[in-house]
Amino acid sequence: MSAQTVAAVPPRLTPRQQLWRRAWRHKGLVFGATVLAVIVLLAVFAPLVAPHDPYRQNLLARMVPPVFLGGTWDHPLGTDALGRDYLSRLLYGARISLMIGFVTAMISAVIGSVLGILGGYFGGKVDAVVTFLISVRLAMPVVLVALAVVALLGGSLIVMMTVLGLLLWDRFAVVLRTATRQVRSMEYVAAAEVLGASLPRILFKDILPNVMSQLIVIATLEMAHAILLEASLSFLGLGVRPPTPSWGLMISEGKEMLLFQPWLIAIPGVALFLVVISINMFGDGVRDITAPEGRN
């Protein structure tokens, strides 16, 4: 009896405190969260941090190399082919990338999880419809459809986010449908039903919290996916329109100078890599620490 109580309560912490402790011990999570936080702060405060106006051209200072390649501190990351300050463009470009990633993931998360949860919970005909929609969606090549729509409607930021949001929900739906089916068969869902819980209550209190960790992981994956897709579309010239600073566009504009000024591509490329990997590490970490199996 005493052994049991000792085992159950090593230092008494509230679940929230325990969550924080576990978060701090998770190296990947701390790393991802730190890098992501720095990037988000820089993007939010870009107007204050950026040394120059990202749109101002200076044809007298074209393709100045960055500091570490023999440039000056006036342009720490150098300038591009039109003499625009590269650091400033990078900072403003982060806003575009993060916004596209976040908004797209949100739109597709809502569509995908509604479909997935409904299909998984009700099964039968509802599920047949959901499965059909997923198949239809999977049969569409994302890049081609996005290209076509952007070509038709023009490449504004809003169009990009909406199109990608409407295209990237398939993974949410597939994963959440399976996860919901599993949770649906648990006895606590039956117990809630027997205790007279209404359908929305079961969905929001019993189903959603228990598929949340999968949802978070997919959301981070899709966020990274969307950022990369935007970059590819902009690279192909069908995404965000110049002169808006976007990382994909920057890579695209730098590609002619690849041999002689490789940093024009390397810098936005590294930025893209850092954002994507930090988002993924953050997502994995959040999943690890919120999994109830590990909660003590």
């Binding site: 000792v6 159950a8 205790l195 007279g196 209190k205 109830p292």
Partner: protein, 545 residues
């Protein structure tokens, strides 16, 4: 006469747990001998170290665990000092193990014949034709009728009992001198269990091998053990000949365990006066349609043929049956988790089965359920308190008054009040089951269904929960439906019993009628299959010093 040497002799064995566990050793200073031609039962509750002992002997310990001292002598050699590869060579040929779960112990991609022959191929150089003859002989030895057909079958085409026989046949293939069986019958129905246990008894005679049999069930012990080793928290608290331990246990923990074995109450149930009926079930049936697949035509499965019974108020009615008997379908129909095809379920003046889905909710509070799996029946993401007040809040009660009752109920189920602020993972199986009982009582039901509610619990915890259920039934004037596959448990807690088989009620009556004078062949078979029925469980072992 030469002295008989033990097959296996464990001396002073300790296995360390990783730092930060609730105790330093999984197994501590264990001494144990297994003689040829002997069945040694290791008994204990979960966490007692009984499985760790068998894993250590087989050299299958998980990497985080390590034997720190002692020796395991087998065939004159110490297994703990033996190189990994030699130990691996012994496994399967000299010593073999049988696991609990027959469903996962076989590879679904190969026929069972191939899987058995594989053992011969791996360990010996017997020619192909003889491998087959030997395999067929083995299948016949484990009493599988139609060995030729079984030889060609895939695991999924066989029943759980047949699969367990095949696992045993595989273990016996090379004539091991030591057989370790870890809860080999726990996942099986009682009639199948009886057959498998019988087989073990015959094997001991026929094979002259030592058998180490790990179990938690004293009925099984009484059925087959020659020697019993009782373990608690990694230590052997008592060991000796089976008759001695079962009938004259010395150690307080053994006494506690034996005292907790459910049994028929000694006092004969006086015939009760007629009381109002709390629940009347008539003609409730359910047929499932199995959709057509590529290989099989569509078919109908009558999971529950129309049944009829009444539950009087204040009564505990047991529904006993093996898997596939329709008891789960019946329960799900009663609480309308699924809709019955036909029939009426009268609770008071409402026909619960006919109520449309929309209006059903308001009647749900009258009939509540406690499920089997203590780990699956609480939402891991919500605090206990939130889950308890859920019910009353759904029925329009204020959160405050519901919380007040939740605190009171926690006291009644003997839990701390501050448990309400915690999450389910912080509780053991028995504690969770108490919480589930409290949750069901929150809406003040008239009828409580306990669906295998104690089957997943250790025997001592099982006893506490059974006592709690009986107390609560009295205190709240509940009527209870007690669903179980365990005849002893049913005999202990129920007033009347219904026996189900293949979706039908085959027998009903008071506990004394059903157990004392079973009418239906199936009931007789069930009672005969009960392990350790010859053992008269000693009474009052705890109080008699």
């Amino acid at each position: 006469m030469t002295e008989v040497r033990p097959v296996l002799s464990i001396r002073d064995l300790s296995v360390a747990l990783p730092q930060g566990g609730d105790r330093p050793f999984a197994v501590e200073s264990l001494n144990l001998d297994v003689m040829p031609n002997e069945i040694v039962c290791i008994v204990g509750e979960s966490g007692s170290g009984k499985s760790i002992t068998s894993f250590t002997t087989m050299g299958l310990l998980p990497r985080t665990l390590r034997a720190t001292s002692g020796q395991i002598m087998f065939g004159g050699r110490n297994l703990l000092e033996m190189p990994e590869r030699e130990h691996a060579r012994l496994r399967g040929s000299e010593m073999a193990m049988i696991f609990q779960e027959p469903m996962t112990a076989l590879n679904p991609c190969y026929t069972v014949g191939d899987q058995i022959e594989e053992i011969f191929a791996a360990h010996t150089s017997i020619p192909r034709a003889e491998r087959r003859t030997r395999t067929l002989a083995l299948l016949r030895e484990v009493k599988l009728a139609d060995a030729d057909r079984i030889h060609q079958s895939y695991p999924h085409q066989l029943s759980g009992g047949q699969r367990q026989r095949i696992v045993i046949a595989m273990a016996l293939a090379l004539g091991p001198r030591l057989l370790i069986a870890d809860e080999p019958t726990t996942a099986l129905d009682v009639t199948t269990q009886a057959q498998i246990l019988n087989m073990f008894k015959e094997l001991r005679r026929a094979r002259d091998a030592g058998i180490m049999f790990v179990t938690h069930d004293f009925g099984v012990v009484a059925e087959i053990a020659d020697k019993v080793v009782v373990m608690q928290k990694g230590r052997v608290v008592e060991q000796g000949p089976a008759a001695e331990i079962l009938n004259r246990p010395q150690h307080p923990y053994t006494r506690l365990l034996i005292d907790a074995v459910p049994r028929r109450r000694p006092e004969a149930q006086a015939p009760r006066e007629e009381r109002p009926v709390a629940l009347r079930v008539s003609g409730v049936g359910k047929t499932f349609n199995v959709a057509r697949t590529l290989f099989k035509p569509a078919r109908q499965v009558a999971a529950l043929k129309p049944v009829e019974f009444a539950l009087q108020s204040g009564e505990t009615l047991g529904i006993v049956g093996e898997s596939g008997s329709g008891k789960t379908t019946l329960v799900r129909c009663l609480i309308r988790l699924i809709d019955p095809d036909s029939g009426e379920v009268w609770i008071g003046n409402t026909d619960f089965a006919a109520e449309p889905r929309g209006r059903l909710r308001s009647h749900r509070k009258d009939i509540q359920i406690v499920f089997q799996d203590p780990y699956g029946s609480l939402n891991p993401r919500r605090r206990i308190g939130d889950q308890l007040v859920e019910g009353p809040v759904n029925f329009g009660e204020s959160r405050e008054s519901a919380l007040k009752r939740a605190r009171e109920l926690m006291r009644i189920v003997r839990m701390d009040e501050d448990s309400l602020d915690r999450y389910p993972v912080q509780f053991s199986g028995g504690q969770r089951q108490r919480i589930c009982i409290a949750r069901a009582l929150m809406v003040q039901p008239k009828i409580l269904i306990a669906d295998e509610a104690v089957s997943a619990l250790d025997v001592s915890v099982q006893k506490e929960v059974l006592t709690l259920l009986a107390d609560i039934k009295r205190q709240f004037g509940l009527s209870m439906l007690f669903i179980t596959h365990d005849l002893r448990v049913a005999a202990q807690i129920c007033d009347n019993i219904i026996v189900m088989s293949n979706g039908e009620i085959v027998e009903r009556g008071t506990v004394d009628e059903v157990f004392g004078d079973p009418k239906h062949a199936y009931t007789q078979q069930l009672l005969n299959a009960m392990p350790g029925r010859a053992w008269k469980i000693p009474d009052n072992v705890v109080s008699n010093q």
